[in-house]
């Protein structure tokens, strides 16, 4: 058990340092726990040689300390005209981004946030940034931030049937969730917050757009880390991350199993039995080291085939046992 949890932290750190070279990372955040104030700093922290380029649709004023360059898209993107083609809109931005990239250096492009890009342009933009002539560009990762609480206007449109085109097109978060290799989903730890009573109370406040105190806490927040492997296997881990001291705690195994038999927790029976249920460490070790008989037989290593070994008293039978006797 402890082996797997160690692995998850190693995997998280490898992801932050871009050793796994995922091509697209999706970070989901909300008003109460924004990525720009917390998680995004972990990448630079874990890999100081990283060239981080922050494409600040959301924040185009201050260069964050975890970025090497900031690109202010409003200077390069012309969004006024709905009719203009993709190239008209974004070619200047892409050129500006490429001018900040050094080829041999590992680069992270942060797009904060994806909602500023039309969802039908989004995939193309990400593609143009990460592929060249059909090949993925080495040493490059694109990270997009998506605000979970933002109401998707296209979904609203499709509900109201304003336009047939948009109903058929997947929304930005659907596109990003399927295309990304790594998903980091940020959530505040509501239980820790002493200023809100419970989630319902929080929802009431948020519906009136009153933001309670104690959120956007960089010292302790939840991250659901989803990693998609090339084999197609998807694994999800829960972490508590501290972005001030850059500490990661695996929270996956702390999901308590209520059944006392399920997690071998027998402390609940203490004092209720007339016999001793406890085990000392020495006893436990001894118990674990006992080699049970027939363990080998349970491994099915031969894959279920009948293995027949010819012995000296056996007489060899040429007849085919399955032959039709008539």
């Amino acid at each position: 058990m402890s082996l797997t949890t160690n692995n998850s932290i190693v995997l998280l750190k490898r992801t932050f340092s871009l050793k796994e070279q995922p091509s697209l990372i999706l970070v989901l955040d909300s008003l109460l726990q924004t990525a720009s104030s917390s998680l995004l700093s972990e990448f630079k922290h874990n890999n100081a040689s990283l060239n981080v380029i922050y494409i600040g649709f959301e924040n185009s004023i201050n260069k964050p300390h975890y970025a090497d360059h900031i690109i202010k898209p409003h200077q390069h993107v012309t969004l006024n005209d709905n009719e203009s083609t993709f190239d008209n809109k974004y070619l200047r931005l892409i050129k500006e981004i490429e001018s900040k990239i050094t080829i041999n250096k590992q680069t992270l492009l942060i797009i904060d946030n994806a909602l500023y890009i039309d969802s039908d342009d989004l995939l193309l933009l990400i593609n143009k940034l990460s592929y060249k002539e059909g090949e993925p560009i080495p040493n490059r990762t694109v990270l997009t931030v998506y605000h979970k609480d933002n109401v998707d206007f296209e979904q609203f449109q499709s509900k109201n049937n304003f336009s047939q085109m948009t109903t058929l097109y997947p929304s930005a978060d659907q596109i990003l969730k399927t295309e990304s290799n790594v998903i980091l989903d940020l959530n505040p730890i509501i239980k820790d917050n002493k200023f809100v009573y419970d989630e319902e109370d929080l929802d009431n406040n948020l519906n009136k757009f009153h933001i309670p105190r104690g959120f956007n806490n960089t010292k302790r927040y939840h991250v659901d880390f989803t990693n998609k492997r090339k084999s197609g296997r998807i694994s999800t881990f829960k972490f508590i991350i501290n972005s001030v001291d850059h500490e990661y705690i695996d929270d996956t195994k702390m999901l308590k199993v209520d059944n006392p038999f399920g997690n071998n927790d027998i402390s609940e029976f203490e004092g209720m039995t007339t016999f001793n249920l406890q085990m000392t460490d020495k006893q436990r070790k001894a118990k674990e080291s006992v080699e049970l008989p027939f363990m080998e037989a349970q491994q099915f290593s031969s894959g279920g085939a009948i293995v027949y070994e010819f012995e000296k008293d056996d007489d060899y039978d040429e007849e085919d046992p399955y032959e039709d006797p008539f």
Binding site: T34, N62, I211
Partner: protein, 244 residues
């Protein structure tokens, strides 16, 4: 009568963000409902910050004309002389292009250092300018002012327009405007009236919360936003008491 508290935003007892850090620009947002009009809070910013004489304030409003703003945002008689300029934007709602609006109203401002813009209800442009999106309102107006003309911006907005249930294009733009504002802000001031309606000695609550923006100030100077909640009582216009 309760003891009067001083307004504190940062852990170094300042209200306004530092001017000496030229690289850092801040965005404050003041959110209020109908019935809690918060110009008294702006007055406190202007008058009660210990170094407010270092700043050049510009007051612009889309709903109130210069005459009204001059009456309501002004320096106290006994404080040091302040540099406050008033730029009327009430007719700005008739503008057809945001860049033209900046050019005609803010053309004379050439350096942004130490400049603070108090901007009242820019979201009204969403209603007045046809087809305007909140993205373009930020990109072409607020971000432009913030990048070129003003080091710090204080946005005053009425959140009665916020609604999570979207039923029109304009409603969607308002909602994303407020959400974006929270993501971009360094400090959010929420002025609420009392849930119970009316009390003799309390008008409402003011809560100061950290916004969604990266706390760059804290990172460089180790000064952080002190989240707090005050009661306030409007004794008379411009005389507002804060207490816990």
């Amino acid at each position: 009568m309760q003891q009067n508290q001083d307004l504190n935003v940062y852990s170094n007892h300042r209200i306004l963000p530092n001017v000496s850090d030229k690289e850092h620009c801040s965005l404050y947002s003041i959110l209020y409902n109908n019935g809690t009009y918060p110009l008294w809070l702006v007055n406190k910013f202007v008058n009660e910050d210990s170094q407010s004489a270092q700043y050049k304030f510009t007051v612009s409003s889309f709903i109130n004309n210069n005459k009204f703003m001059k009456q309501n945002i002004k320096q106290n008689i006994n404080s040091a002389s302040l540099d406050i300029e008033y730029i009327d934007l009430t007719l700005g709602l008739q503008a057809t292009s945001l860049s033209k609006l900046i050019d005609t109203k803010y053309n004379h401002i050439s350096s942004k250092e130490g400049r603070v813009l108090i901007l009242e209800q820019p979201e009204l442009l969403i209603s007045s300018m046809e087809g305007l999106t909140s993205i373009s309102l930020y990109n072409d107006f607020i971000n432009k002012l913030h990048n070129e003309k003003f080091q710090h911006i204080i946005i005053i907005s009425n959140i009665d327009y916020y609604n999570h249930y979207i039923n029109s294009f304009i409603q969607y733009q308002y909602t994303t405007f407020f959400q974006s504002l929270q993501y971009k802000s360094d400090v959010v001031f929420t002025v609420k009236s009392l849930k119970t309606g009316y009390a003799k000695d309390i008008s409402g609550t003011l809560s100061i919360t950290k916004g969604g923006a990266l706390d760059n100030v804290k990172h460089t100077n180790d000064v952080k936003v002190v989240e707090n909640e005050y009661f306030f009582y409007v004794v008379k216009d411009n005389v507002v008491k804060l207490f816990y």
